[in-house]
């Protein structure tokens, strides 16, 4: 450990910080992907995805959790089937939301009203989730098992590895779909100019419902992964959702690749501060540093607008 311009620096903690930071990024990333996708078709923040993630976490808990104290008790479902049921539920919820916002009544609403509607749905879904499934703050076993790996002296769980693999696979697949398929072209056309897309005969409702349904499934999957990582703690889930929002902001809400980069930046930054790469730090100070960094990045992004150039490449 040495000091650099008055700041302590623990070089030996950089690698663990990097590894765990990448693992943490996966959690933010899935929700960020859902937010970016919905923003592309509606130009509003899909707060409802946070509600779907809440439903996902609580539903997965209800289906797959067994208390250690209940000897001989069985969960309602195996962990993989439970995950599939939750993802299907998220897809249905997302599609229903998509149907309402792309319907005749709401299609021409101002963006701020749609955002408020989305916030209302977040509150309703969260309220219903915590009312119907009263859960103590418990973590549920990962659907991927309990194996652990050692990467450069750092122990990582299979859950963390699976999360990051799913995220990267999702971003790559979505980028390919958005760039190379007709459906992707439709989504990009809607994101660029809704009116022109309508005049070109693109089925706005169908594409909108499809994207919302897919994003709902991704958000529900994020909920399942959160059930194992942070458990059924409402503040914990909200904190992750906020991080995802911030990551999406860093990507201008439109770029999946920038959002992924934002995930890595935030995940690594947060983990390095927590691991004490820059010396021991209280939680409050860490949060203030992170928030200041986020504010500064948002300010810079707005000032220099690199997003447009990246959007032009379709990424």
């Amino acid at each position: 450990m040495f000091e650099l311009v008055g700041v302590a620096f623990n070089g030996d903690r950089i690698v663990p910080g990097l590894v765990l930071g990448v693992a943490a990024a996966g959690l933010y990333g899935l929700l960020a992907v859902a937010l970016v996708l919905t923003y592309r078709v509606s130009r509003t923040i899909g707060f409802v995805m946070g509600g779907i993630a809440f439903v996902g976490t609580f539903l997965y808990y209800w289906l797959a959790y067994v208390d250690i104290a209940d000897f001989g008790a069985h969960p309602r479902m195996g962990r993989i089937p439970a995950m599939l049921v939750v993802v299907a539920t998220g897809t249905v919820l997302g599609s229903i939301y998509g149907l309402t916002v792309t319907g005749k009544r709401m299609a021409n609403w101002p963006r701020i009203m749609l955002t408020t509607y989305s916030l209302a749905c977040l509150l309703l879904l969260t309220g219903f989730a915590v009312s119907i499934i009263p859960a103590e703050e418990r973590r549920v076993a990962s659907p991927f098992g309990t194996r652990t790996f050692r990467i450069s002296s750092v122990v990582v769980t299979i859950h963390q590895v699976a999360t990051i693999v799913i995220l990267v696979a999702l971003v790559v697949a979505l980028t390919l779909v958005l760039r190379g398929t007709r459906a992707g072209t439709y989504v990009r056309a809607i994101a660029d100019d809704v009116e022109t897309a309508w005049w070109l005969g693109i089925p706005l409702n169908r594409v909108g419902v499809g994207v919302y349904g897919f994003a709902g499934g991704v958000a529900a999957l994020a909920g399942v992964l959160l059930a194992s990582a942070v458990g059924t703690s409402a503040p914990g889930i909200l904190l992750i959702f906020l991080r995802a929002l911030v990551v999406a902001v860093l990507g201008g809400f439109t770029s999946l690749s920038l959002a992924l980069a934002g995930c890595l930046l935030l995940g690594i930054g947060e983990t390095m501060l927590t691991a004490g790469v820059f010396g021991a730090m209280e939680r409050g100070l860490r949060e203030v540093i992170l928030t200041s960094l986020i504010f500064a990045l948002v300010f810079l992004i707005n000032r220099f607008r690199p997003i447009r150039a990246i959007e032009a490449t379709g990424l």
Binding site: Y117, A120, A234, V246, E287, T291, I294, V298
Partner: protein
């Protein structure tokens, strides 16, 4: 006084000779609500008086949010965090055991200054950005407050019980629940008056112009970003006052769980549901939101559902909210009554339509 020529359909005040134009339905509404609140404070059960005091303080905070959401037309998701900060800072400044032991009014001022400064901080950082960024960054500030202020045991007490006594102001003790209720009612009245005066003032109108059309405001010499900052400062001021009076209400610092980010959404639901035209509507909705979770307790309905339903109803009702719907209904009714008065033509009390029907019926007068 001769009241025989005044039609029976006019209000009893007019019939009693009260001059026209001095008392409108809004003034009547305010008077009725104030009278009901006083009666409630005097005769309701202690538990409900306490719960209503909590709701009154919620109303003060929600009124502040109206300036940001309704007038400047920006979304802020930090109001619960600001209120919570004011609760803990105000309580710390006021209590003598484990705090600074300042006089109550000085502690209130301290809480207000902290809340306004925090609000201005987020305003400074976001005021030149578009609405979506403001929304997300206010949420970021809320989470930062949760991770910094709400985990500070000196402020929140943690597991150690801290006592924040009820205050005594200019020799009047507000120790009892009823006395503290009337104190909070008085503060709410003052804040309501302040906001109403602000709305009618040059600055209030400028703020609303900024919210409606930023370019038009700039073209007439109104600085949009300065007025947006002003709106955030107003929101911080109201959150500070609400928080400072909440601290001694509970006796011990309340749980930070009451001021988390989901609660900010709950706060936002109040002005959105009430609408931005009628301040009394905001107060009534806030009181309903404050009382409903307790009233619905036997059915285990989460307050989040209430907040969500409120936001949904407010969104569907449009900018004027529930108060707009109610005032429209009242306006239509008043117009119908006025039309009915004008249509009275003869001693038999026939309306114009009835008169036409009578004329065509062929009967003799």
């Amino acid at each position: 006084m001769n009241t025989t020529n005044v039609p029976r359909t006019t209000s009893f005040l007019r019939r009693a000779g009260w001059p026209r134009g001095t008392v409108g339905p809004i003034e009547m509404g305010y008077a009725a609500v104030a009278a009901a609140a006083v009666l409630w404070g005097l005769f309701a059960a202690k538990f409900w008086v306490f719960t209503t005091t909590v709701a009154l303080l919620l109303a003060i905070s929600a009124l502040g949010l109206t300036a940001v959401v309704g007038w400047a037309r920006e979304m802020s998701l930090v109001q619960a965090g600001l209120t919570g900060t004011a609760v803990y800072v105000g309580g710390y400044a006021y209590r003598s055991q484990g705090g600074w032991g300042w006089p109550f009014l000085l502690a209130v001022a301290c809480a207000v200054v902290v809340a306004v400064l925090l609000s201005l901080l987020v305003a400074l950082a976001t005021v030149r950005l578009s609405g979506i960024y403001i929304l997300v960054l206010t949420l970021a500030l809320q989470m930062t407050i949760e991770q910094t202020v709400f985990v500070e045991r000196k402020l929140t007490g943690g597991l150690r019980p801290l006592s924040t006594p009820r205050p005594e102001i200019i020799g009047i003790s507000f120790v009892s629940d009823r006395a503290f209720f009337f104190l909070c009612l008085g503060v709410l009245g003052v804040m309501l008056l302040l906001l109403a005066r602000l709305r009618a003032s040059r600055h209030g109108r400028a703020l609303m112009l900024v919210g409606t059309d930023r370019q038009a405001a700039a073209s007439v010499g109104i600085s949009p970003w300065r007025y947006k900052m002003f709106a955030f400062a107003v929101a911080g001021f109201f959150a500070g006052v609400a928080g400072a009076f909440t601290a001694p209400l509970f006796g011990t610092p309340p749980s930070p769980l009451s001021y988390l980010s989901l609660n900010s959404l709950f706060y936002l639901a109040i002005p959105v549901l009430a609408g931005f035209q009628c301040l009394l509507g905001v107060v009534l909705v806030a009181v309903a939101f404050g009382l409903a979770p307790q009233a619905l307790e036997p059915w285990h309905i989460s307050p989040l559902i209430l907040g969500g339903a409120g936001l949904l109803a407010g969104t569907l009702a449009g900018r004027s909210g529930i108060s707009g719907v109610v005032s429209n209904l009242l306006r239509v009714r008043r117009r119908q009554r006025a039309t009915a008065e004008l249509d009275v033509r003869d001693g038999a009390g026939r309306t114009l339509d009835e008169e036409k029907a009578f004329a065509f019926s062929g009967e003799e007068r």
